[in-house]
Amino acid sequence: MTVTTAPVATSPATPPVATPPRRRGLARLPLSAWHLLLAPLALVFAVPLVWLVLSSVMSDAEINRFPPALWPSGIDLGGYRYVLGNAMFPRWFANSLIVSVVAVASNLLFGALGGYAFARMRFAGSRLLMGLMLATMAIPFQLTMVPTFLVMKRLGLIDTLGALIVPSLVTPFAVFLLRQFFLSLPRELEEAAWMDGCSRLRVLFLIVLPMSRPALSTVAVLTFLTTWNDLTWPLIAINHDTQYTLQLGLTTFQGQHHTKWAAVMAGNVITVLPVLIAFLVAQKSFIQSITSSGLKG
C-alpha cells in the first residue's frame, strides 16, 4: 500500500489540537505531497458533473460538431427552454416530488409507530412479527417485482402514482432503524409522562420523537434518495408519460431526442439538482445516514 511512503508524519489519529498551527491565518492544515495524487483524482470525480452542467448551457451547434466544444462560448438556455416548454419535465418533476415526499412522510410516521410499538410495548407475537419483517429485508426486489406488478394491477393502481407510492409507504428498514434508536433512549421521561396519564401516542409524539432527530433524519434522507433515484419500479409500473417520474422521463426523453444533447443534459441537470442541493446543504447528515445505515443497520 502506497500510504506508507508518505512524506508526512501526521498520524491519522492525531487529535486536532496536536497539529501545530502552521501558516497562521491562511489555513490551519498543512500542505502535503498527497495533493499531487488527490487533486487529479478529485478532478476525475468532479469533471463529469461539471461537464454535465456545461453542456446543458451549450448551443446545439457547439454540441453537435466534431470535435465537440469542451467549453461553452456563452450561456445558451435553449436546452432548458426546450425541456421546460416542449417536454413534460415540469410534470415529471412534480410526480417525483409527490412520490418522494409522500414516501418520506409515511416512512417517518409508520416507521415511528411500528418502531415504537416493537421497542416499548409488549404484546403477543411481537418477536415473531419483528423477525418476519427483518427477514423480508433479505428478499431481493427482482423476486417480488413481477408479482408486485400483478398485485398492483389487481388493485387497479398500475399507471398511477399510487403504484409507486404504495410499495414505498413503509420499509422494514425504517421500522427497524427507529426501533433500535428508541431502545437506546432512556425511559425516565416516558415513564414520568405515563404517570401523568399521557397516552402512548402523545408520549411518542411529544417526548420520544423530539429526541430522535438523528434517526428520523437518517430515515428521511435514505428514503428520499432511494425513491427519487429509483428507475426499475417506475419503469415496470408506469406506461403513460403523464405519470412518469423524472428518472423514467429522462431516459425516455434521451431515447427520443438523440441529437438534442443540450436539452437532454438540461433535463439531466433538473433530475440531479434536487438531490445534489439537498446533499450539499445537509452533507453531514447525508454521510452520517449512509454510514450508519451500513454499519449499524
Binding site: 502535503s32 411500528g114 403477543a124 433479505a138
Partner: protein, 348 residues
Amino acid sequence: MPRLPTPLTLPAGDAREDGQQDHGQDRDRADHAAGAGEREPGRRRRSPLRRGETATAWAFITPAVLIILGLSVIPVAWSVLLSFQASDLVTPSRWVGLDNYRALSQDPNFSQAVRNTLLYTVLYVPLSIGIGLALALVLNRRIRLVGLYRTLIFVPFVVSATAQGVLFSFILDPEFGAANSVLNTLGISPQGFLTDPGQALLVLVAISLWSGTGFCVVVCLAALQDVQPSLIEAARLDGAGRWQLLRHVTLPAMTPVSVFLLVWQTINALQVFDLVYVTTKGGPLGSTTVIVYFIWEQAFKNFTAGYGAAAAYVLAVALGLVTVGLRLVRGREQRRSARPVRLEGAGK
C-alpha cells in the same frame, strides 16, 4: 430504501431481544449498551401495563405489518407459482411444471447473462473496496482541503444511475462525445466505448466505480475514525513504524468493515440494472445483458413472466448463498479476534 444485507447488520444482542421478563435486566443492558449507558440496578424495567395495551400496539404496527408483509409474503409465494407456469401477465397462465427451470439451464442467453454479471461483480467489488480503502487511508490525514476532496469523491454517489447513464452515454458518444474528443487531441484513435462489445461491460464497471467508490471511502473513513487512538499510541511507543502500524493495527481493525462492504457491494453488483437499461439495453450483442436485465426482459418485454420468475429465483438463491457464506466467514472472524471492535457491538 437501500436493501440492506439484514442478517449481517443485525446487532449481536438482538437474538434474545424482547425476551422473557426474567431476563429483562440483562436484556436492557444489551439494548442500551450503545446509547444511554448504564442504568442503575434495581430500577423497575417494565413499562406500566395498561388496559388496552395490546390493542394500542396492534394499532401502531398494523400499517407497517400490512404493507411490509403483504407486499413481500404474497409476491414471494406468487412468484414460486409463477415460476412453474407459462404466463404473459395478461391471459390466464398455464401450469408447466419444471419446464421453465429446464429451459433456463439450456438458454445460452441466460448463461451469458450469468457470465456478464459475474464478470461485472468480480471487477467492480474488489476494485471499489480496494480503491475506497486506499483513498480513505489518504483522506484520513489532516491535510489542507481534505474536506473538499472527500466531498468531490463522494458526490457522484447521490447521482441516480439514470442520470449517470444519460451523462456517460453523452460523454462517451463515439461521434459527439467529449471523451473521444480528448483522446483525439492526445493522438489516440477514437473508441467505441459503450457501442463496442469488447469494451461495453468494462465501461459500465468504470462508471459504477466513479459513482460507487465514494460510498466505500465514506464507510471506511467512519471505521478508521473508530480505530482507538490508544492502540496506535501503544504500537508507536513499542517502536512500530508507519508500515507496521498499518499492517498490524489499522488494517486488522478494518476487517469487519471490509467484510460488510464485500457483502454489500456484491449484493448490489449482482442486482445491477438501471445503469444497463439506460446505457446499453443489454447490448451490443448481449455483451452487457446482466441477470436482472434478463429477468426484466423476459417478464415485461417478451411477456414470459413465468420464465422471468424462474430466473429471479436462481438469482435469489445466489444472493442468499453470498449472504449466508459471508456471514459464516464473519462469524469465524468475530470469534477469532478477541478485541472488541465498536462496529460490531450491540449497536443501536
